[in-house]
């Protein structure tokens, strides 16, 4: 464990000043002594291991994009942090007051700014604050409140036993979904802990919050469409966005899924544009709208839609400005002036160094302070006490030069709480994050929270880190206390929907391409295996030589080996080496596997934990196998077998476990399109022979379509063009044949429904008719062998037609928009382009 050792003067959560265990900890400890010791007496250690595994299999870790990064994810300690009912009630009241105060400040800063005019707030706190978003203020009308409807605060316990606020979180209140996930998994993995405890459940809070979000809808709460806006799968807290979207029944959307039109906000779905009424943003306000805040991401026109009242953004962009550490020093006075109340829950002693006398005070004893940028509550603090002499001197010089850029917070050791440490419990410092939501009438605190053990002094303040050790926070119910249920809000019954209509276009697009790439991977492996089988025979028969030539052509066509690799004899070693290169990272197949991993990550929120495991773990194993040092035909064969097993596993899991409509339909559509294309391509190369060698071509065609056994059982040993081609082209029952794919494509297009597929269906049907006609023509031909080899160019054309169908599917369903570009920000290149004040 790399957690810092507790400070000797740090207060202890569990033990009081006399060495006695506090009453509310007794039951928690008792539960631990009751844990089953059936793993050689290792109760606590076993709980830790099971929790870690659960988080990996179904929790936070499994939601991380790409290859799982062990040790780079949040873990959950089995020992919760209990809070007595009375203590929590006081915290909730204090935080609710702070939230009300901060809302009042925001309404003034984004409205009349009378606090500045009256001199209660120095102008720098607003105007030099980069989180003050000028486009969110209109000089001619007050802001449409409420601005702040979710709020979180980081707290630590002072030596006097009272809690202090270390940081206010008004932009996004990150960590709330994470807290819920800790509770869910802890309760499932170590249920014994909860036995006999009066722990308040979290679910009612989420129900109320969801109701509150519904009520914020400009269209009224009845059928408000909620969406949670995430920057995407690469955001460090993406896992939380997935969890929270599920918890609150929000659509999980990325900026590219949204479009602002005519002063309203819409989600691009397969069934067209669906309005979004409430947008729970998990992005910085400055990234929301490139038209008004600059930058490249975001949704152009979103602020226009918000000003228009068509969509409510939660929290309103610009709320982050009151996270400024420099503001903390003013809160007691502002609370008295604005609310007429004393501040119930004070901040850790914090000063803005622009205030008279404060710089001198800090410079006299710099080791007693944490230094934070004055306006950025998300930046980590500097600890002069822990810095080397030279770095400290440099920091203090910067402080003296520009004191207005800095705030100083008293360096106060957090309290310690017991954490699992092998088979024992050891005290570790803890910081508590609590969450509140405005329910339309008052602020509700979530009866729980996210406690975390800071990984180092830099993690005391600042943004939520990407990893660390978290603890579940238990708010204990008072004996006999009533536990509130969800607010009763009449909601209109949802219409029953069965088709894929509500699927965001981006998700359908990713599913489609996931299907295509998995199938392409499988096709590549089959082709490579067929070539490899021949390379191993030495010397080659003339027939095999021709087959290898056809296979090489197919391999080159598929981009699996470079054009200069030639088949046969002395070059077989070269071909084998080329296959290896293709399989490795950066090679054609290696890139294929990387793309699959990326797409699986991108659709992670649409896959259950089990399916996700099936889609990722075997792939990683194959990647490892391909990267292995040993070479040779044997190793290659094993790696290809691994690839084929992976592809079969994905197909099976998808077929058995995914709901037919929606994502699965597009996954399957992608697979069928890709397979149809690759069958057409491979048959074309197999048949590209002189008529006298047609038999070899047919044999290869059957092999590539995995149809050798079927053919033999039907026709025994006699190989003839028409029956062989019927099996691989037209037989509706052969899942490796072309007709089968085209039929499936037609059926899937009809299933997806929604209207726009009407002219895609005839396209698919025309292709099917053309394919069914091919073996009939060969059979009827005077010279079937010649007719068979003459199909090669027609199959090449067919490959192109399937590709065209795929393009049409993309254009129809995925609403690919051209890239956005910004005007009026470009560099002037010539005098005629000089404009806008560039004289």
């Amino acid at each position: 464990m790399n957690a810092p050792l507790p400070h000797p003067s740090a207060p202890d959560e569990m033990v009081d000043g006399h060495g006695h265990v506090r009453p509310h900890w007794r039951r928690v400890l008792a539960a631990f002594s009751d844990l089953p010791q059936d793993y050689a007496g290792r109760g606590i250690g076993e709980a830790v291991r099971r929790l870690d595994r659960a988080f990996e299999d179904e929790g936070v870790v499994s939601l991380l994009p790409g290859a799982a990064r062990p040790g780079r994810a949040w873990r959950c300690d089995p020992v919760p942090l209990p809070l007595p009912a009375r203590e929590f009630a006081a915290l909730a009241e204090g935080l609710a007051q702070r939230a009300r105060l901060l809302e009042r400040l925001l309404l003034d800063f984004y409205g009349p700014q009378s606090l500045l005019a009256e001199g209660l707030v120095p102008p720098a706190l607003v105007f030099a604050n980069p989180a003050f978003l000028r486009p969110c203020r209109a000089a001619d009308r007050p802001p449409a409140g409420p601005l702040l409807t979710t709020y979180a605060a980081d707290l630590l316990r002072a030596a006097d036993g009272g809690w202090r606020v270390l940081a206010d979180r008004t932009s996004r209140a990150a960590g709330i979904g994470h807290a819920q996930e800790n509770r869910r998994i802890l309760a499932r993995v170590v249920p014994g802990l909860f036995r006999g405890q009066q722990v308040r459940p979290l679910r009612p809070f989420f129900d109320r919050w969801q109701d509150a979000l519904q009520r914020l809808s400009p269209r009224g709460p009845g059928n408000a469409a909620l969406a949670l806006l995430t920057p995407g799968v690469h955001h460090p807290l993406w896992f939380e966005h997935v969890l929270l979207a599920g918890e609150l029944s929000c659509a999980l959307v990325e900026p590219g899924d949204l479009t602002a039109r005519n002063g309203a906000l819409f989600l691009k779905t397969l069934r067209g544009l669906q309005p979004v009424d409430v947008l729970l943003r998990r992005m910085d306000g400055r990234q929301l709208d490139p038209l008004e805040f600059g930058g490249h991401g975001g949704v152009p026109g979103l602020m226009d839609a918000a000003r228009n009242g068509a969509v409510r953004i939660v929290n309103a962009p610009g709320c982050g400005m009151v996270e400024a550490p420099a503001l903390a020093a003013l809160l007691p006075e502002l609370c008295r002036r604005l609310l007429g109340e004393a501040l119930l829950l004070p901040s850790v002693e914090t000063h803005w160094l622009a205030s008279p006398g404060t710089l001198e005070m800090v410079l006299r004893a710099p080791g007693e302070w944490l230094l934070r940028p004055a306006f950025d509550g998300g930046a980590p603090a500097q600890h002069p006490a822990l810095m080397p002499e030279a770095a400290r001197e440099a920091l203090l010089r910067r402080l003296a030069e520009r004191p207005q850029d800095w705030a100083a917070t008293r360096d106060m050791p957090p309290s310690v709480a017991p954490c699992a440490d092998g088979e024992r419990l050891s005290p570790r410092p803890v910081i508590l994050r609590l969450f509140l939501a405005q329910d339309g009438a008052e602020w509700q605190a979530m009866p729980g929270g996210l406690a975390r053990v800071p990984g180092g002094p830099g993690e005391l303040t600042g943004r939520l880190p990407q990893d660390g050790l978290a603890k579940d926070v238990w708010v204990l119910a008072e004996e006999g206390a009533e536990i509130l249920g969800p607010a009763a809000l009449p909601r209109q019954p949802l219409p029953i929907r069965r088709a894929a209509g509500e699927l965001p276009s981006r998700v359908a697009d990713n599913m489609f391409w996931l299907g295509r790439h998995v199938e392409r991977l499988e096709g590549a492996a089959r082709l490579m295996r067929a070539a490899l089988a021949r390379l191993e025979r030495d010397p080659l028969l003339p027939r095999e030589f021709a087959e290898l030539a056809a296979l090489s052509a197919a391999l080159r066509h598929a981009g699996l080996v470079p054009a200069e690799e030639t088949p046969g004899g002395a070059a077989s070693a070269a071909l084998q080496a080329a296959l290896w290169r293709s399989l490795r990272e950066g090679g054609a197949v290696g890139r294929q596997m990387a793309e699959i991993a990326r797409l699986v990550g991108a659709v992670r929120d649409r896959l259950t934990g089990d399916i996700h495991t099936l889609f990722t773990l075997p792939l990683r194993a194959v990647q490892v196998q391909a990267a292995a040092q040993h070479r040779g035909a044997q190793g290659l064969e094993e790696a290809l077998a691994g690839v084929l097993r992976y592809c079969a596993g994905v197909a099976g899991a998808a077929a058995e476990n995914m709901v037919r409509a929606g994502g699965h339909a597009f996954l399957d559509l992608g697979r069928r399109v890709e397979r149809a294309q690759s069958i057409a391509a491979q048959l074309r190369f197999a048949l590209d022979q002189p008529a006298s060698r047609v038999e070899g071509g047919l044999r290869l065609a059957l092999e590539l379509c995995d149809s050798v056994i079927t053919y033999r059982s039907r026709y025994l040993g006699v190989l003839q063009p028409a029956p062989a081609l019927d099996l691989v082209l037209a037989d509706p029952g052969n899942p490796r044949g072309l007709a089968f794919q085209l039929r499936a494509i037609g059926r899937l297009l009809a299933d997806i429904g929604g209207g726009p597929e009407q002219d895609l269906l005839p396209q698919a049907e025309a292709l099917l008719a053309a394919v069914e006609e091919m073996p009939l023509a060969v059979q009827a031909a005077h010279d079937p062998a010649l007719a068979a080899v003459q199909l090669a160019p027609r199959l090449a054309a067919l490959e192109g037609e399937v590709a065209a169908l795929s393009d049409h599917v993309s254009r129809r369903y995925f609403a690919l928009l051209p890239p956005a570009q910004s005007l009026g920000q470009e560099m002037a290149k010539e005098p005629s382009v000089l404009f806008w004040g560039a004289a």
Partner: protein
């Protein structure tokens, strides 16, 4: 009092059709105590699907347009008739010492905003030092401002095409040339470095000189200059460093902000369009 007729036409031509576009415009002249907007109109082609307007944080009028039909050309023509008569500033030697103005500004919420660095104008020691040469201890603020205004006109060459919208002040200082936006940015940066409030004013200057006069630099295009603060009593005065002028009756104000970005006349986000070309024509003629 002078009566002006403004016509400001902006035309974008796109190599490929633009599917959708959102634009934000600061093209409506701001009504002021000494600037009256008699009439104004704005015409767009194609017709936008949505037009909305508001008053921004700085008090400027802002318009948003949304176009949802494919178009290969986008044109905005803003026209207005304006009366202007900005009063003469007080005698320079009667204005307060510049240090006193800076101290006053730090406490005055209404002007303090314009003393801080802004996105395009971070602190720059070179710009501060350049300005400081005119701000000798105890010098009346307007005397120093007028000298700085003239020094920029003399020290820098007006040349289009050597700078862009976001050219840093340091580069302008080094190459000693640029256009009105660059000179304005330089002066703003220098004044703020001294703690003096200074704002970026966007607008127009008369296109053709009166008979026998000289053609102003920066005519035919959008123009920009500096609003400087003389203390609570005298308030703001506008200075045009490109032409070494005090703004009286040959300029029309569109609005102001901290730098160009706050008040750019027209910006937009378009979907599609490929390469584009832009043509801007401005006429400010006596009505």
């Amino acid at each position: 009092m002078t009566l002006w007729r403004i016509r400001h036409a902006t035309t974008y031509r796109y190599a490929e059709p633009v599917d959708m576009a959102s634009h934000m415009l600061h093209l409506s002249p701001r009504p002021l105590p000494h600037q009256r907007v008699r009439w104004e109109k704005m015409a767009c082609a194609p017709e936008p699907a949505r037009v909305s307007s508001s008053v921004d944080h700085f008090g400027n009028r802002v318009t948003w347009l949304f176009l949802d039909r494919p178009h290969a050309r986008f044109e905005v023509v803003a026209e207005a008739e304006i009366e202007v008569a900005f009063p003469a500033p007080p005698p320079a030697d009667q204005t307060p010492p510049w240090e006193q103005v800076a101290a006053e500004a730090a406490r005055d919420a209404a002007v303090a905003e314009f003393t801080f660095p802004s996105p395009l104008l971070p602190e720059h020691a070179g710009a501060r030092d350049y300005a400081a040469q005119s701000f000798t201890p105890g010098r009346p603020v307007l005397a120093a401002l007028l000298e700085l205004n003239g020094r920029i006109r003399r020290d820098f060459t007006f040349r289009a095409g050597v700078t862009g919208i976001a050219t840093p002040v340091g580069q302008v200082l080094a190459q000693r040339m640029g256009v009105c936006q660059d000179f304005t940015h330089l002066m703003l940066c220098g004044l703020r470095g001294l703690g003096l409030p200074a704002r970026y004013v966007s607008g127009y200057i008369r296109t053709l000189p009166p008979p026998g006069g000289v053609v102003h630099l920066g005519a035919d295009q959008s123009h920009a200059w500096v609003g400087a603060w003389l203390g609570a009593q005298a308030g703001w005065v506008d200075l045009d460093p490109t032409n070494d002028l005090v703004v009286r009756d040959e300029h029309v104000v569109l609005g102001w902000g901290r730098d160009f970005q706050d008040i750019s006349p027209l910006r937009g986000i378009i979907l599609g369009g490929g390469r584009h070309s832009l043509n801007v024509a401005v006429d400010l003629i006596p009505a």
